[in-house]
């Protein structure tokens, strides 16, 4: 079945009692059991442990990632937290991409480090660096590709080989590309993590997260921690995300086409000193981008002449591009990572991995690309 068919139909079956074509919002805390002996015979008991609407979304996302199973959470961070909880214990060590969402860095350095877990932030674009960072107690490799916000890529297959050699899971944050463009499990990774807040919802209307795994044992672990910690997705959010996911490929195709056009426009603009978008031939890892994904996504960044001051002025002068965190929605959003998404990362660490003070991040939406270019052109003209 084609991806676009799966994104509409997978996980969804007409309601048996009414024939409703859409999954009902099962806004019920508890589920009646026919008898003590038949406890859980219909699969549900309490909505924290499992809810039919949430389960429909989990099945859809698992099908889109070609994974074994999926669990959904209240946010992308909740999803990530469960991955760490399910794989790490005191005394363990984990390798994390040195460029990653600020929240990932914070979760590792401020929370898990308090519980005796050690982290190495490694340039996962370089498999040798990953290999040499391995310790006897390494229990998880967690990568993000393309990385937020520099878009540095990690070779998923190469890092998965290393993880496999040690019998430890390789988790990939696949939020930026989604399974429409990149399927980490098919490339050998074991876990694919998402903030569904981004492209899956796509309409800036919910927060949510998902973890897709390639095996039953990992799946049971995730399900156990989802229930035990209670960081669950609500049935209403699951329903909105189910509906949003139905247009995932349509939105991403348009967003990526827009991003390519904008990146090419920025590359030619005299006020722009640097543009990074995996779809540009000037992108340092363009070949890898083509090899492991079927599209380049809709995230790009650039720097303008005049540094931080000019960058801030640009972000304040755009009109159609909205100054806000978040990404992946139909509206184009413009972000200053240093003051917004990556403020929690130490300044020295930011600079070391290439998050410069003048970096402007753009999450390209589905608007008419001529309108977006005109907006950026006008703002650039004011510099």
């Amino acid at each position: 079945m084609g991806f676009t068919t799966k994104q509409v139909h997978a996980g969804v079956t007409p309601d048996p009692t009414t024939g409703a074509i859409l999954t009902p919002i099962h806004q019920s805390t508890t589920f009646v059991q026919d008898s003590v002996d038949e406890y859980l015979s219909k699969g549900y008991s309490y909505s924290r442990s499992g809810n039919p609407t949430v389960r429909a979304l989990e099945q859809k996302i698992a099908a889109l990632e070609n994974g074994k199973s999926c669990t959904c959470y209240s946010t992308g961070m909740a999803a990530e937290q469960v991955v760490l909880q399910a794989t790490l214990s005191a005394g363990d060590h984990a390798i994390v991409s040195d460029v990653a969402y600020g929240g990932t860095y914070r979760l590792a350095t401020k929370i898990y480090s308090r519980f005796g877990v050690e982290f190495s932030f490694v340039d996962t674009a370089n498999p040798d660096a990953v290999r040499s960072a391995l310790r006897p107690n390494t229990k998880l490799i967690f990568t993000e590709t393309p990385a937020n916000p520099t878009l540095k890529l990690t070779d998923i297959a190469a890092i998965s080989e290393i993880a496999k050699g040690r019998g430890i899971p390789h988790a990939v944050d696949n939020t930026f590309l989604t399974p429409y463009f990149q399927r980490p499990l098919e490339l050998g990774a074991n876990i694919s993590v998402h903030s569904t807040t981004k492209y899956f919802d796509g309409h800036n209307a919910t927060t949510g997260g998902a973890v897709v795994v390639d095996g039953d044992e990992l799946g049971e672990k995730m399900r156990f921690h989802q229930n035990a910690t209670g960081v669950i997705m609500s049935p209403f959010v699951a329903w909105l995300t189910l509906q949003g996911t139905k247009t995932l490929s349509l939105r991403l195709e348009r967003q990526a086409a827009n991003a390519q056009a904008i990146a090419e426009f920025l590359e030619k603009h005299p006020k722009v000193t640097r543009v990074r978008y995996p779809g540009l031939t000037s992108f340092p890892q363009h070949a890898l981008a083509k090899r492991q994904a079927s599209g380049f996504g809709a995230m790009l960044w650039f720097e303008v002449e005049g540094g931080v001051k000019a960058g801030k002025k640009l972000m304040d002068s755009v009109k159609l591009c909205t100054l806000a965190e978040n990404l992946g929605s139909v509206e184009t959003l413009i972000t200053h990572p240093v003051t917004m998404t990556h403020a929690v990362v130490e300044p020295a660490e930011r600079l070391r991995v290439g998050i410069t003070d003048g970096l402007v991040r753009l999450s390209v939406g589905i608007e008419d690309v001529e309108d977006l270019i005109a907006d950026l052109d006008e703002a650039l003209g004011k510099l």
Binding site: T5, P14, A205, L250, A324
Partner: protein, 389 residues
């Protein structure tokens, strides 16, 4: 304040000026207020103020203005369903003794509204074929003809109305035109001299099959004249539904393009199948309405009909054998749907009228969704193989 009072007067959270949500909040309130009575009586309050959600609501208003712009008009009234919109346009323009023109090729509930219910209000009708331009002109010339209710392409048989000619005739004879433009969508036909556009927002506008809604779109003068009736009828669109439709509308163009591309590919495939005797889709070169449709439209939509070389039993067997297409009415949502035309959309017509409308027991209507087109074609092929075995 006692806590018992506090629960009905919750703490207000002030949002700093400029600190706006990217997606506007759903204004889930019945009433709006002002600091003083005098404030509620200012010219500005009367022009732009909100009072009671049956009259207007900011969430619904945003949808009305956006939909109006897409349809190249400047105002609109959103209501609870497409049929409520039809009724608003009809009741707002008719009185006892008037005559309505409608077409035999039209949506069944539209025909039922005119033929069964308006008749009870002493409003007459003339039902013609959408292609009968002479008959249209003759009927328009009669003194009591007041309003034309029409569609293009028509539901379910996809007949294309000549919008330029029909609206010119209507203008000449001072006949009010109400175009149910649901099939063509909000982005098409705006350049024609139509008085009122009506849409079922349930279909392409929302596009996800999860909410009902309707809208009447026209120039501001006409909408203002219609507004008191709308407020009195009370068939308002719920703000929660309006918010979902606004959300759906964001991917409107992406979806409509994909619906159209998929429908054309399915129509082309059906046209080559020996089990299919005729395909009705204006996007298909060779379709009787193709030339006119190309003049009037840029995309041809996701609905098509076709006749099988089969009796009723085999036709139903074909429909039952489809797996990806769900058997139900409605259209314009992400999922593909199928229905037997005579049973679902033609039962109010006499045998003679059905013939005129080209509706047969072997006619099938498809509302093509946005799935992968190869999967849809494969589903049709397996259902044909199964039912024609």
């Amino acid at each position: 304040m006692k806590k018992q009072t506090r629960v009905t007067h919750p703490k207000e959270v002030e949002i700093l000026r400029g600190n706006a949500p990217v997606v506007p909040p759903v204004h889930r309130t019945v009433k709006f207020t002002y600091p003083t009575i005098a404030d509620s009586l200012t010219a500005e309050a009367k022009e732009h103020g909100f009072d009671y959600t049956r009259d207007s609501n900011p969430t619904t208003r945003a949808l009305e203005l956006t939909a109006a712009e897409l349809q190249d008009r400047d105002d609109a009234i959103a209501v609870g369903s497409g049929m409520a919109a039809i009724w608003l346009a009809l009741l707002g323009n008719l009185e006892a003794g008037d005559r309505v023109v409608l077409f035999v090729e039209s949506y069944r509930p539209n025909r039922v509204a005119v033929r069964r219910f308006l008749a009870k209000l002493d409003i007459k009708f003339t039902m013609l074929s959408v292609h009968d331009l002479d008959g249209i002109e003759r009927t328009f010339a009669e003194d009591d003809t007041k309003l034309l209710l029409f569609e293009s392409p028509t539901n379910p048989m996809l007949q294309v109305a000549d919008l330029a000619k029909i609206t010119a005739l209507a203008r000449r004879h001072e006949v009010v035109t109400v175009l149910d433009n649901t099939f063509a969508g909000l982005h098409q036909h705006g350049r024609y001299d139509v008085d009122y556009f009506v849409h079922s927002l349930t279909k392409y506008a929302n596009g996800h099959g999860d909410v009902m809604g309707g809208i009447v779109i026209a120039d501001r003068k006409r909408i203002r004249a219609l507004k008191p009736l709308a407020v009195n009828m009370g068939a308002v669109l719920d703000p929660g539904a309006a918010a979902l439709i606004s959300r759906g509308l964001k991917t409107y163009y992406l979806r409509y393009e994909r619906h159209s591309a998929n429908a054309l590919a399915v129509a082309e495939h059906l046209a080559q199948r020996p089990e299919v005797t005729k395909v009705y889709y204006p996007g298909l070169p060779g379709d009787a309405g193709h030339a006119l449709a190309r003049e009037q439209m840029t995309d041809f939509g996701g609905v098509l009909a076709f006749d099988l070389d089969a009796d009723k039993k085999r036709t139903w067997a074909f429909i039952d054998a489809l797996e990806l297409f769900t058997t139900t009415a409605s259209l314009g949502s992400t999922e593909s749907l199928v229905c037997p035309v005579q049973l679902y959309l033609g039962s109010d017509l006499s045998a003679e009228e059905q013939k005129q409308a080209q509706i047969k027991e072997s006619t099938v209507r498809l509302a093509v969704g946005i799935e992968h087109v190869e999967d849809l074609v494969a589903d049709i092929d397996q259902a044909l193989a199964k039912s024609f075995r």
